[in-house]
């Protein structure tokens, strides 16, 4: 079942997505965008899982399951985070992450 696409391509794609996510996470000020960056990171991990599963252990399904779990968790996480963001907006009337710095010394 060798489709001919080398595993490196998957890995390169995942790495690019991962660091795009990291970059977005560190530089964007909008909480929604940060959430989107986190989703990017999660999905890059998913791709890695699937790729490794497919190429290293083609007869096992753990990678698949793991991805499915991550997708489920990411979905619920998105729900929770958006709830938090809404609350933050109510409290601070902004979703700029730099203004939400109450949790300090």
């Amino acid at each position: 079942m060798n489709s001919g696409i080398p595993v490196q391509y998957f890995l390169i794609l995942a790495t690019v997505m991962f660091f795009t996510g990291i970059y977005g996470f560190l530089t964007r000020r909008n909480l929604i965008t940060i959430l989107m960056s986190v989703e990017l990171i999660l999905n890059s991990v998913n791709i890695n899982f699937l790729a490794f599963n497919r190429y290293l252990y083609p007869h096992k399904l753990e990678g698949m399951f793991f991805s499915l779990f991550i997708i489920a968790v990411a979905a619920s996480e998105a729900a929770v985070v958006i709830a938090i963001i809404i609350n933050i907006y109510r409290r601070f009337t902004t979703i700029n992450v730099e203004d939400v710095n109450e949790m300090k010394f």
Binding site: I22, F25, L26, T27, V97, E98, N101, M103, K104, F105
Partner: protein
């Protein structure tokens, strides 16, 4: 053996009286508490006289010597197997003699106070304190061991403190009481150290064991040598330090003149007749050790006594407060007693000084109490302490005048009054031991006669002073004790002390040596004569003399600036250079170190708290950088 166990009541009764008056005194009528206190003392006086009679005339003698009888003894506090504080009653010639002295004088003072302190606020408190004092003093003289003596030694100290400060709203009285307590406390420190050293070496506190001439304590011959003197000598010098403090010997004498701030009966009882001779009693009590095992310490006793007697007599010639003159005279006379002990030896004819000292203690108690009580009567009538404000009082106070004159003659050593006999014995003892000491004492005898009659003439003769109120003779409660004590002063000289109170309990043959007696009477008369010329009438001689010896007079008048020296040491050195620096050191160095540790910790936390910025992305950045670093570390460097 006669049963002496009833003697427990002699100290116990005043103690119960103290508890009663102290707790319930303010509920009783003042008069009733006064009578209760006096009545208690009356019973004790009777008991003491009975004891003295039974002891001296009916108790058995062994080898012709009076025995030390332990009437009662129980362990109060056990330290080690051998060292324990007992409380008990020890009867021997000196303690029985002291019983008589204390109870007599105390009883007289109680009666006198009924009149003198009448209508004073705190009348019942006064009697409660007097009872406390009587208890402590009786306990002191009856002590069976040196630690019991120390206990009561402290207690007389505190009763003296309470009584000097009786007028507690008067700042000078408060100061005086504080001074008395602290100075004597400092001396007591020496006493305590002496006890510690002594008990460490002899393993006992008990007087009978300690002072047994054939016992192990003395046979040790002083023990090991420390800094050139034997340990026994050291301990005896330290013990004597306690006596120096309590008996107001130089250099711890400064409290006694100030103690005259207390009510006059107190001065008569505590600061003339009883407590201040405790030092003499202490040396007498330990005498066998001094004489047989620590002769150096005994020399110290002699010289301290001699110096104090001269020193105090010189100061007494310049003072104008009559109570202070009497106070210095007391110091001088106690110096005599110390000297007499210092020149004595143990047993036989050597023991003359010991007998003379005890004899003088006895007669001195009578005439000095009389002088103070007389002074009290004068102050009561004139409302002043200063002899410059008095004069010609013989017309107004006849009884006081006569009794005071008798007392002055007695202290001046005019025969056949009692002072003559006792002083003569002391001079004789000094003469046979050390001529220089004799010369000092001989001069002091003249000075004594001079200043006493200076006092007498200034008060009762001299200029006719105008008084606001005509002075009136004191009530009978005050004059009766005066008369009784005067009788005592006149006749106590005929008591055969040489048969009763001697260093080894045996009879001492002594007779009046005319070689010494005649010159001593002559110098007494000379002193009286000089005083007569200078103070019988108002005259300019004293002022001229004072002007001639300007510096000497000024020094003596200011008590040789010893008080100032002490003040300098305490205020400047102890307070400013020890105590304040200690407090400063504690606050700034010790506490400062602790605070520095705290503030260093706090500063450090302040520095690093900036990491906790609240910026989500900063945390993430640090986290990710860290993760990448670790990855690099593990992949490339950690091979």
């Amino acid at each position: 053996m006669i049963n002496f166990s009833y003697t427990i009541w002699i100290p116990l009764l005043p103690f119960l009286m103290f508890i009663l008056l102290g707790l319930a005194g303010h509920k009783l009528k003042p008069k009733l508490s006064g009578l209760l206190g006096t009545g208690g003392l009356g019973i004790i006086t009777v008991l003491s006289y009975i004891t003295a009679f039974k002891y001296f005339f009916t108790s058995e003698k062994v080898d012709g010597a009076y025995q030390k009888i332990t009437a009662l003894n129980f362990t109060w506090l056990q330290f080690t197997d051998k060292l324990h504080i007992d409380l008990g009653v020890l009867l021997d010639p000196i303690s029985v003699m002291m019983l008589v002295v204390i109870s007599t004088v105390s009883f007289m003072v109680h009666i006198y106070s009924l009149g003198y302190m009448k209508d004073e606020k705190g009348f019942e408190r006064f009697f409660a304190f007097l009872s406390l004092f009587s208890f402590s003093m009786l306990g002191l003289v009856l002590a069976t061991n040196i630690f019991q003596m120390y206990i009561f030694w402290e207690l007389v100290g505190v009763s003296s403190f309470l009584l000097i400060g009786f007028y507690y709203q008067k700042p000078s009285a408060v100061r005086a009481s504080k001074k008395a307590f602290i100075v004597t406390r400092f001396a007591d420190l020496g006493f305590l150290i002496g006890i510690l050293i002594l008990s460490f070496n002899t393993k006992t506190f008990d007087f009978i064991t300690l002072t047994n001439p054939a016992g192990s304590a003395i046979a040790q011959g002083g023990g090991i040598v420390f800094l050139g003197l034997s340990v026994m000598t050291w301990s005896m010098i330290f013990v004597f330090m306690g006596g120096v403090g309590k008996s107001a010997m130089f250099p711890f004498h400064i409290w006694l003149p100030d103690a005259m701030e207390g009510p006059t009966p107190v001065s008569a009882l505590i600061h003339a007749a009883t407590m201040v001779v405790a030092g003499v009693y202490l040396v007498a009590r330990m005498f066998p050790i001094y004489a047989l095992s620590a002769p150096v310490a005994l020399n110290v006793v002699a010289w301290v006594g001699a110096f104090t007697s001269l020193f105090a007599a010189v100061i007494a010639c310049t003072q104008t407060d009559i109570k202070r003159v009497l106070a210095y005279s007391t110091m001088s006379q106690i110096g005599y007693m110390m000297l007499a002990l210092g020149v004595a030896g143990y047993g036989g004819h050597e023991g003359l000084g010991y007998m003379a000292s005890m004899f003088h203690l006895f007669t001195h108690a009578m005439f000095k109490a009389l002088l103070f009580l007389g002074a009290g009567a004068i102050i009561h009538a004139v409302h002043s302490n200063y002899m410059t404000e008095m004069g010609g009082l013989r017309k107004y106070l006849p009884v006081t005048h006569i009794t005071f004159l008798i007392a002055c003659l007695t202290i001046a050593g005019i025969p056949p009054l009692s002072g003559f006999f006792s002083k003569d014995e002391i001079l004789a003892a000094a003469f046979h031991s050390n001529k220089l000491l004799f010369a000092i004492e001989y001069a002091v005898a003249g000075l004594t006669a001079f200043y006493m009659f200076r006092l007498y003439f200034s008060i009762f003769w001299g200029k006719d002073t105008q008084y606001h109120h005509t002075p009136q003779e004191a009530p009978a409660t005050m004059t009766v004790p005066l008369i009784i004590l005067a009788v005592g002063s006149v006749f106590s000289g005929i008591i055969p002390f040489n048969k009763l109170v001697t260093s080894d309990g045996k009879i001492l043959e002594s007779e009046i040596e005319l070689m010494i007696a005649i010159p001593s009477v002559l110098i007494g008369l000379l002193g009286i004569g000089v005083a007569y010329i200078m103070y019988r009438k108002e005259s300019a001689i004293p002022d001229r003399l004072a002007a001639t010896f300007k510096y000497g007079y000024k020094w003596a008048y200011n008590k040789f600036y010893i008080d100032e020296l002490y003040l300098f040491v305490t205020k400047k050195i102890i307070f400013r250079y020890i105590s304040d620096p200690v407090a400063w050191f504690d606050r700034h160095i010790v506490d400062g170190t602790m605070n520095t540790i705290a503030s260093v910790t706090q500063n450090f936390s302040f520095r690093i708290r900036a990491f906790q910025s609240g910026q989500l992305q900063k945390y993430a950045f640090v986290f990710i950088t860290g993760a990448i670093m670790l990855a690099i570390l593990f992949i490339y460097l950690w091979k």
